[in-house]
Every structure is written in C-alpha cells, then in structure tokens.
Amino acid sequence: MEGSSGNMRSSEQREEMKKIREKTVKKRSKQKEEEDQDQIFNFNYKPAEEEEDEEDEDLSDSEDSVYSGLEDSGSDSEDDEKEGSGDINDDDDDDDDDRKVESEQIQQTEERKRKEEEEEGVTDEYEHDSSDEEDIRNTVGNIPMEWYRDFPHIGYDLDGKKIYKPIRNKDELDDFLDKMENPDYWRTVHDKQTGSDIVLSDEQVELVNRLQRGQFGEVNFNEYQPSVEFFSRDVMIHPVTNRPADKRSFIPSLIEKEKVSKLVHAIKMGWIKPRRVEDDSRGRYYDLWASEDSSILAKHRMHLPAPKIPLPGHQESYNPPPEYLFTDEERALWEQQDPSDRKLPYIPMKFSSLRQVPAFPRFIHERFERCLDLYLCPRQRKMRVNVNPEDLIPKLPKPKDLQPFPTTQSLVYRGHSSLVRSISVSPSGQWLASGSDDGSVRFWEVCSSRCVKTVQVGRAVKNVAWNPNPSVCLLAVALDSVVLILSPSLADRQVVSSSERLLSGEQEVEPTEGAGPVIWSEAEGEELNQGIRLKIQHPKAVHQVVWHAKGDYLASVMPDHSSHLQVFIHQVSRRRSQNPFRRNKGLVQCVSFHPVRPYFFVATQRSVRIYNLVKQEMTKKLQANSKWISSMAVHPGGDHVICGSYDCRLSWFDLDLSTKPYKMLRHHKKAVRGVAYHRAYPLFASASDDGSVIVCHGTVYNDLLQNPLIVPVKVLRGHVITHDLGVLDVTFHPTQPWIFSSGADATIRLFT
C-alpha cells in the first residue's frame, strides 16, 4: 500500500506540473533545443527508449522515449489518457488504478499504438520535465547495482513489478565481436540500472565533447551577452514596479525617532564624542628650544643629573693588550666572586680579528639596569673630597730646629738575664740602677756602660727609684711585698755618709711606730754588705715606689681592688708609714709627687686624682679617656701631666686648662709601658710594647693663653720584642738630652 500511495503522490505531482507546463508550451517551443539537452542529461530515460524503439522509433526524438518509458512501466496508461483528453477528475483516477491494472496489462499492445498516436499531441508536456534525477523506470534508487547481481531482475518499476535483466548477458566474446563489428560501439554506453546499452546520438556526442571542453552545452548560447543594466544611474521616467508606495513611507518612523533622540541625548551628555581628528602633530618635530627662557631653570635647582656611565678602559677592548687578560687564578677568582663584588662585570677577552667578535650576551641586561638606576636609584648629593693629602699633614716646626734630643743609640748595657722592669738614674747622672726579673739590681756607670755593682735580692724586682736628693745616695727597690732601701755607696764619701746619717737618724723614732700594717726592719749580715739598709715589709705586693723631690718621703703602691690599703707614704728619716686614703677609689696604677708643691697624683685605671697633701683633700680629677692607665709622669713645672695607657695612647693634661686631656697622642701601635719627662729640656718620651721609644718635644709656655707645643721629634728603635713585650721603662738623663730605655730583651739602651 505504501508503494502505491507513493505512486499516487508522485503521479499527482506530475499532473500538476503538466498543467503548468501546458500554459507555457508556446513560450518554450522556442527553447526546444535546449530542452533536448536537458533530456540528454537524463540518461536514465534512454535505455527504455531504446528498448521500445528498436524497431521503428527514431532516437532523435527524446520526447518519445520519455513517454515510451512511462508506457513501458505500464502504470500510467490511464493517467496518460486523461492527460491527453484533458483532466476530468484526478481523484477518481486513483481509485480506478487498482481496478484496472489487469485489464491494462492485457491491452498493452493496443494501448501502445494508441499512445503513439497521442504522443504527437502530448510531446510538449514532457519537454520540460526537469526532474532528471528521478528515475522513472527503476525505483531502486541510486544504489550500487551490484546488489542485484545475483537476482534475475535489476529493480522494480513504478508499479512494483520486477524489471528483469536482459535474458542473455554479453560475454567477453560478444563484447569483442560487438566492438569489431558494431560501428557505433564507441558511442554505446551501458546503463547499469536498466542493464541496457544506449547508443548516443550525434548531438549527444557533440554535447559530451562540448562539456568536456568546458563549454556551454548549447551551441548557440552566447556567454558574453551584453548585460542589460536594470538598475542604472539614469533616472527613469517610470517606476520599476508599479506598486504604490506604502503609507509608512510617508509617516516618520517612531523607532527611528527614538533612536535619534537617544543619540542626541548621548551627544548632549557628552557620552558620544565626535570622531577624533587624527592628530598628526605627534611624531612631528619642530624647534623646541626656539625661545629659551631662564624662568624654568629656577625650578631645577634641586635637580641632580644622573651620573654618566663610566667610559670603558683598555680591558674592555676586543683585542686588549695581553696584560689585561685574566690569568687562570684571576678567572677562577672572578667566577667565585659574587657578581656585586666583582671589579669587572665581564671577563676580558681577546679576539684575533673583528669578525670573530660575538654579540655581548648581557647587553640588554646592562641597558635595563641603567634604566632601573635612572628611575629607581635614590640620588644624593655627595661632596667629593678633593684633598691633596699633603695638605692634611699639619705644619710642624722641623725637628732639626728643636734640637737637642736623642737621635742615635750609643750604648747598650748588657748583663741582666731577664727582662729589665725598671731603671733609674742617679741625680748626678753618673749612675744608672736597673731592676730585673732575674732577681738582681745592677748599677751601671752611664758613660762606660760598665756594671759596677750587682745586688742579688732574690726575687723579681718590680721597681727601682733613685732618691732625687743629690745630697744623699739611696735607692728604693720594690720587690714582691718588700721595699728595700739601698745605699749603693757610689758617690763621694760625704754623700754616702749623709745618706747613712739619714737612715740612721730615725732609729730612735722607730720604736714609737706601733705594729701597723707596715713593718720596718734593718738589714743584717750579707744583705748589709750588699748595701741593703732597710726593709719595709708591706702587706701586699708592691708595684711601684716613688720618692718625693726632697728625698725624705717615699710612696709605694700596692694595687688591690678590695682594700683601701693601696698606697703608703713612708718617711724614711722617721721610719714612719701612713695610709693617706680611707676609701678605695679604684685600682691604683701609679702615684707621683708634685715636684714643688704638696700635691700627690694618684692614677687609677681610668682617671688621675690630684690630692692636696696639706689640706688633705682632692683638688682635681683628670679623665684620661683611656681604658687602663699604665704610667704617669709629671712635668717638672708641675702644671702638666702625661699618662700612658695600655690602649696605645698617651694623653697630655694641661692642669690649668681642663680635666680632659689637652692632647691624645696615638703614636704607638701597642700598649704604652712608660712615660717620662726630661727635667731640664722640653722633652718627653713614651715607651711601648711595639719596641719603640718616641721622643717628643713639648714646650710649655708661661703664658697661660698659649697651649703647649707638642712635636714628635724622634722614633727610637733598638729593643727586640720578646714575649710580646718591647720597652718596659724609659728615663731621661737628669742633665743631658739622653734617654735610657730598658726592654724585655734584658738590655738597657742609651740614646744620645
């Protein structure tokens, strides 16, 4: 049923088409030839046509063939009739179809004849059948025909009847024979769908040829016809169409109005701006500095121009002198270093010719870093110190003009076997006493460097001090906790006797001294022979002994943190001792008497205190500004003090000026061990562990307004540093500009 209904539909359609075609028959008659070709495209029709027209029909008439094909299927016989007679009622036809099938088949032959007659009249109807792709005879559609290889038929016609294959298939031989015999073989085409051969007509062959050449199918068709311009710029009198204009073309559009008003509003509000005129002044140059006014210049006062990139040196050359190239060690060092520490940011390289020079890999980096420097680097104005170093050196009087002062080492006193702690010169300047760690005190003749006397005291001698009174000849020796008074008898008889008298005069008074911390005792026997007269036993180890200028008083120092018993003042003539201080004010380093007035200097670790012995009070406290005072000397005038300290400094105090040092001298490289003033000449000296003695000129003026003049005049070297100790003590000759120094190398040296 489905098949039949499909047929019905298709037939209906065809009929409608036919009607339309009928109307235009006459017009199309002109284009008859064209349509011929349309037919040709539709090869499906051909085989059918051939089948029927084998006997009589002419191939050229394609309309016949189309029709005959239809006829062959035998389905539309009635339709055709009706068509031919003009359509009465289409609906009835369908009903009739089924009924009349059998009868039709019987009448086939008759009908064929009839149709042939009818064809003459109806041909035009099918001329314009453009449904080429629609195969009318075989309904299997566009499938591979191999599927029907094993069947006797090759498909079905419109009525669902099988279309049978030609009874005898052509074999090779037939084919060959055909090829040889049939003159039309070359134009014969096998139609697989219907299993028949079609011989193409001359026109068809011609058409194929034309198509192959890429030409139009129709011979007469002119591809280059002049085109008629339908719409042209010329204003025509008549409208193209005669249609009257719409009403809406006369009425202003509301939508447009809305849009325009929106735009206008937007323009008013400044939302839409007119199209920007392309500003071509950008990238165009002119004389910018035509009028240079200085008014802007004032703004730039704070401007710091960026420093320029330093210019390259020889080592950056592509072919530098060989000395600028890195050695292996330098290269290794360069590679190890942090990039910021490197002296050069690149390795110098040598290329034998210009063409071998490669691109510098860090070029962009360096440029970029420069950019960063320009805008990120804080700038600061720094004054470059452009000083001639010579100008920095102070202008001092020439040492030559400040003579005399010791300049050369003239004598060496040898004999001690250990470091010489202390030396002292007799007031006459003829004798030199020295105390050493080897437990001996030696007396030397200054001029000949002969050791005239040796006193074995048994223990390391800490300090020796010659009595400054020229009328007596006594020597105080500090060792361990004992202070010995020696009478070396190295003077005139008169002097010796006077000193004996001084020592003996007190004997009566001695017993009056009760049992204090200090015990006076007289030496006996062997000791007496050696010249030791008195022993003053202290509770603790004595480090220093100092005579008063008059030669009667003697001060001894026992540095101790914990007690107030650090300093004792002894009166030799009366064999009396007293402790002047009630309170402990720090570790006492050394003490000194004022040369003329009753003042007493006590140097603790960091300061120097000056006591008035008469009033029994402190008059001044000098801040030494050093960590640990080692030694102190008082100017013979009494108004100036120098302090040496273990932190390499020598401070000069002007007592009239201030309690702060007037000058700090940092001449030594190591701890200062001893300082000394010359009694007559304006000289002072300092001895240090670095093995040198520095002699300075220090003029003191009577005028209070003029500061002392301090000029270093000579650095004396000679002592050998042993056990990190250099020169331990230094003393001036009382009258001559000579200086003695004792060192850790067990020698005493005289510089003149």
Binding site: K273, R276, G283, Y285, L288, W289, E292, S294, I296, L297, M302, A306, K308, L311, P312, G313, H314, E316, S317, Y318, N319, P321, P322, E323, Y346, M349, S352, S353, L354, R355, V357, A359, F363, I364, H365, E366, R367, F368, R370, C371, L372, Y375, L376, C377, P378, R379, Q380, P389, L392, I393, P394, L396, P399, R414, L665, R666, P712, K714, V715, R717
Partner: protein, 585 residues
C-alpha cells in the same frame, strides 16, 4: 608653661619627603602608571640625610621622594591622560566582554594619546641640557633599532628608532663631529663632540638578540618613548644648525648617483629612502647650498703674559682637530662583505673618506671593486685571492686606530693575516703613576712626530721605566736594610758576650774599618721622610682617617699598575723565549 607641645615628625626633613606608596596614593595612580610617570618626568627617589628622622623613627628600608617633586607631578596633564587610558581600557574590556564590536571600534578610534613635547621642554630647558643627557637616549635608540620584530615592542617604535639613529649618524657625518671610536666586547663605542659636548654612545653588534626573560620591556619601552621624542627634537635642531633639511634629504647629485635600476630588489619604495639614508654613503642636501663652508678662523685678540701660552695651546689643539677631521680625505675605501659595513662607513665618512661596498651587501654602493682609484680595501679574512697592486688590503682595526691616534698609522701592522696590535681604549687618559701600555707609548711617540723607533730603543725605554720603579722600591727598602745591619751588629756583639761569659779569652782583633760613604742627598731625603712620618703621627684622628684612605687608594693604584707591568713583562719574556726557540730551530 607656654604653648602646645611640639609633636614629632611634623616639621623639618620628615615633611620634605614622602614614601613611594604615599606618593602613589596621592596621585591616584597604579604602580605601573606611577613608574611610567616618574620615568617620563625624570623624578627619582632622594636619599634623605637622616633616614631615621624622615622615616618617623623607623629604620625600615623605604624609598623616599621629595614631596615637592610629587606636588609637581600633581599638575602634570599627562596624569589625566593616564586616567583616561585606564578608563579606556576598562570600557574596551567591557565592550569585548559583551561582544559589542561596533563599540569596540568606536572606542578604538577614540583611544587617548599623549604628547611628550612639553615634558621634554620642561626637563631640558635649554638645548645644551638636552645634549648633555642624550647619551642614554642614543644608546637606547641604537639598541631598539637592532631589535627584530618579535613582539618585544611595537614595530613602529623599532622603525622610529632606526630612523632617528640614522638621522643622528648622518648629522655626525655632516658635522664631522666624531672624535673617538672604540671596539669593545660589548659593542662599538663612539664619541662625538656636538656643540662642545662630548657625547658617547654604544652600538651593539649586528646580531639578533637573545631576549632575556628577567627584563621588563615595559620600562624600557617607556624610556624609549621619551628618548625618541627627545632625539627627534635634538635632531631637528642639529640639522637646522647645519642648514640641513629636516627630515633629511639626500643631495640631488648623490641621489641621482644612487639611482639604480635594480633598487627594487632591496626594499619597497617606501622603505627605500630610509635604506639609502642609512647606507650613509651620500651627503645630505642643505637648505642653502653653500659650495664650501668657510673655515672659521679664530679671531686674534691682543693678550698678555700667561694667556699667550694658553692661547697657543688652544690654537694648536684646534689645528689638530681640524687635521683629524680630514684624516681620510682623498682616500677611497672599499669594504669587503665580511666587515661591519655600517660602522666602517660611518667612521670613514666622518673623516672625509669615500667608501663603497659590494652591491649585494647594501644599497648605496658608489663604485665597484674593480675601480682602480681605490686606495684601501678593508678585508677581514686571512687571505684574498685576487689582489690589486695599487691598494692596501688592511684589517678594519686600522681605521679605528687611526681615528683614535688622530694620525694615519703605518699600515704594515694591519695587513692581511698579520697579528693585530692591541686595540686600546681612547677614553683612558693616563695620569701620573698610572700604568701605560707600551703600545700607547708608541702611538704617543708617533703623534709627537717621532719616527717609529727600533725595537731596541723601545726595550731601553721599558727598562728605564722598570729601573725607576725599582728605585721607588729601594726607598722603601732602605729602612729595612738598616735594621738588618743593626741586627747583624747585635748578633756579633752577643756572640762576643757569650764567649766572654763562658770565660774564654776574647780574640782581640782589629778589623779594618770601612769608610761609610755619606750620601748627602739620600740623607736629606731620609730626613724629610722621617719628618713627614712624624708629622703624620700628629694628625688629628679625622684627618688621619682621610689621609689613610687617600694613601690606601694611591697605594692600591700603584700596586695595580705594578701588577700590570709585571704581567706584561712576563708575557713579553715568554714571547721572546718562544721566538728564540724558533730561531734556534
């Protein structure tokens, strides 16, 4: 009980400075915009004298700007443009998001742009200011002009940079302003004197760049934006100062010469002109065509005394400079294809030489290899097949060395295949005590007009130098020697003492005394040295510190110089030994 209590950090230096973040907030700019603004306006951080005071007591590391600078930025019209741009970008993004492409188009048409002219004028109120600061601009432009179109920056920027640098080079040629050239491993340094300002710039070698990833190209691009504007204005002014047309035009004569039938092969018509300009082989046309520029003679003023010498020196220098300008005049160069064409053409043309090259290398070659009048052919290969007799085949270094020496150097050292003499930096000016490489000494002798001396003499000179150095060393050593002597004496004495102490009889022996020759001059010197030492001891602590620093620097310098000299000597000795060995064989 007077008045209010003064608050801290409300007066003084704390109010003069502002931190970066605060400045940014004040300007209402994002950090990139702020950065761009700072770059364009030349605002840089300042290091306050007392950081802690400015930093309100904190010692955190911060960058400070002068408040005045930031206030100054507030009035900058470009800040407004930046804001516009920000808005533009936002709108554009939105339009893209909504796929409103018509809106995108409209927005793009109205893209805000800005000009930097006023900033240039403001930063460089006078032309000389601009010239002083043009070095960085030139370096940057030359770098950007060598970039490939890889998207690191806009193509227009690259083209603009190229154009401006070509213009600059053409100006330098026209003004004959080049003074020094130096081929370094980084690139080629040029130094020109423009309006009395020495301007040095560095041109990278013509290779493609290996673009580093840790470089912010936006920063560089901003700088380039500023620099190209500056360079354009400077070029304009410079061209006009020489009566040249700007934008530059080739001389009509030169142009006709350069016309070739196959010039289309090189570039498109639009690019052709720039290419021709960048060939640097033709002169530029002037507004007023003067046939010969008259020599500006220095006017003579009546002068007395001291000034005469100065004047003479100046005149001499002037003359020397004029001579240098005509260094290559009358010489005809031909560049082989393996030498850096642009650099050599630039240098040769700057000193009046004529130059040409192979047609296939670049547009603008004026004569062929076969030209018989060529005097020098610059070649950088070990040998060449076909040589003409009447020309020198030299290596490119000759040109550069001649320029630096200001005289035509002997060509023998620069022939093909010869080991080149070292290429020295012309920027190093040796002061007293600095190390001077022997090659420099040689060149200086040549400049003085001395004949190139024999090797022997050179050696003598060197030796002399060395001796001098040794002398210096001696002075230092003297003291030590003395000490040593003393020590020896002491040892002797000790020995004697020991002997005595051991109870041996002393071998009494009188040795003949030696007469010590007193060198008065030396004594005096020593005395002076000691005086100085003593005086130094008396220096104040501050001055001593400074003095020590200066002396340390000096010593280091001499040490370095000595090291170089020693290295050189070792090298020379090694070379000599090698030579000897060779001759023996």
């Amino acid at each position: 009980m007077g008045g209010l209590q003064k608050k801290k950090f409300e007066r003084g230096s704390a109010t003069n400075y502002i931190t970066r973040n605060k400045a940014r907030k004040k300007l209402q700019l994002s950090l990139p915009d702020f950065r761009r603004l700072c770059i364009l306006k030349g605002i840089y951080p300042h290091e306050p004298k007392h950081k802690k005071k400015v930093n309100k007591g904190s010692t955190a590391p911060r960058t400070f700007y002068l408040l005045k600078d930031i206030r100054f930025l507030l009035h900058e019209p470009i800040v407004g443009k930046f804001r516009d741009y920000k808005v533009f970008v936002r709108k554009l993004k939105r339009a893209y998001g909504k796929t409103e492409y018509s809106a995108v188009e409209r927005l793009r048409e109205n893209k805000p742009t800005y000009k930097l002219d006023h900033i240039i004028k403001e930063r460089y109120p006078t032309f000389i200011d601009a010239l002083r600061d043009i070095e960085d601009a030139l370096c940057m432009s030359f770098l950007f002009s060598t970039f490939a179109r890889t998207g690191k920056c806009h193509v227009q920027t690259i083209q603009l940079c190229r154009r401006l640098t070509v213009e600059w080079m053409n100006y330098v040629i026209a003004a004959r302003a080049l003074r020094k050239v130096f081929i370094s491993i980084k690139g080629i340094y040029y130094q020109a004197e423009v309006m009395g300002q020495l301007i040095t710039w560095l041109v990278p070698y013509q290779f493609s760049h290996d673009h580093p990833t840790d470089v912010d190209y936006r920063v560089m691009a901003t700088f380039t934006e500023l620099y190209t504007t500056l360079l354009g204005f400077v070029n304009f002014r410079l061209y006009h100062s020489l009566n040249l047309l700007y934008p530059p035009k080739l001389d009509i004569k030169a142009e006709s010469e350069l016309k070739e039938e196959n010039e289309d092969d090189y570039a498109m018509n639009s690019e052709c002109y720039l290419e021709k300009l960048s060939a640097l082989s033709a002169s530029l046309s002037r507004v007023v065509s003067t046939a010969e520029e008259e020599e500006a003679e220095l006017d003579q003023f009546p002068i007395e005394g001291d000034d005469i010498e100065k004047m003479e020196a100046r005149e001499k220098e002037h003359k020397q400079q004029e001579d240098q300008k005509k260094l290559f005049e009358g010489l005809k160069f031909y560049l082989s294809r393996e030498v850096p064409r642009e650099s050599l053409a630039f240098v040769i043309r700057c000193f009046g030489g004529e130059v040409s090259w192979d047609k296939s290398v670049c547009i603008g070659s004026t004569y062929e290899v076969t030209d018989e009048t060529i005097t020098h052919q610059i070649v950088d290969r070990p040998n060449i097949d076909k040589q003409y007799i009447n020309r020198y085949y030299i290596q490119p270094q000759w040109v550069y060395d001649c320029v630096n020496a200001k005289i035509p150097l002997p060509v023998e050292d620069y022939f093909l295949g010869v080991t080149l003499p070292p290429h020295l930096s012309p920027f190093v000016e040796e002061k007293e005590g600095d190390y001077v490489p022997p090659e420099k000494v040689k060149i200086m002798a040549l400049q003085r007009g001395e004949k190139p001396a024999h090797e022997q003499e050179e050696d003598d000179e060197e030796e002399e130098e060395e001796e001098e150095e040794e002398d210096d060393d001696d002075n230092d050593d003297d003291d030590e020697e003395k000490d040593e002597e003393e020590e020896a004496d002491e040892k002797n004495l000790k020995k004697m003492e020991e002997q005595r102490s051991q109870g041996k009889s002393l071998q009494v022996k009188v040795t003949p005394g030696k007469v010590k020759v007193e060198n008065s001059a030396r004594l005096e010197q020593e005395e002076k040295a000691e005086e100085k030492r003593l005086a130094i001891m008396m220096m104040k602590k501050k001055e001593k510190y400074l003095y020590d620093k200066i002396m340390f620097g000096k010593k280091r310098k001499t040490r370095e110089a000595n090291k170089l000299a020693a290295k050189r000597k070792a090298h020379d000795d090694a070379e000599k030994a090698k030579k000897k060995r060779k001759t023996r064989k």
